[in-house]
Subunit: 106 residues, 2 copies
Amino acid sequence: MRRDVFQAIADPTRRAIITLIAFQAMTPNAIADNFHTTRQAVSKHLRILTECALLKQEQQGREIYYSLDIAKMKEIDTWLAPFKKSWEIKFDQLDHVLSTLKKQRK
Amino acid sequence: MRRDVFQAIADPTRRAIITLIAFQAMTPNAIADNFHTTRQAVSKHLRILTECALLKQEQQGREIYYSLDIAKMKEIDTWLAPFKKSWEIKFDQLDHVLSTLKKQRK
DNA sequence: TATATTAGCAACCGATTGGTTTCACAATTA
DNA sequence: TAATTGTGAAACCAATCGGTTGCTAATATA
């Protein structure tokens, strides 16, 4: 089945899973503990996220650790990039102020 | 009906519409000319995009011009921002950090 | 060896999706 | 005024979605 990153992140539960495992790899059971659904439902979400390469699997004994593939997340940003310029121009002045503040802090 | 930006951009036709009208406002008929679907199908997409505030309408006589609300597009970038930091680090560096963390966990 | 744990798959279900055709209505134009 | 044009809404349809329950396979543990 053809999977699309944009279709994958359309579901709020899947976005929550992405945020959840962003820092550390987790097993399906551990992930499911964070949601009010069955383990099987979460398993389906993991399948969809894995099929579009947003998630990587690493088997450890009978456990499978799922982790986020940051490179694939960049795909969303790539699509967004052309539009991004528009709002960056709008907040250009603010950006300038912020970067100046950062430099001063360092 | 509850509309979500992420659900809105999940459809490839809707993403194409966004790209199409990014530069200039267009009428439903003009937009529909660019797709192999009926005008009514495009009208539905425009409704969904408008409901989640990605599109703005401007009536001119009997014509309605649709334009992109760039500010709403930023919402996607906002969700992406925390992850963005990860891929902005050089990838080999990130890989090193991650593998070190994994080894520490074991 | 027997039992418990971890995980994915299959079948089913109601709701939603994206599409179509048909229709209604307002604004332009002949 | 009558016909045309631009648009949205309604009704319908097959396909997909997110969820459930029940099952099987593999690994770990008593």
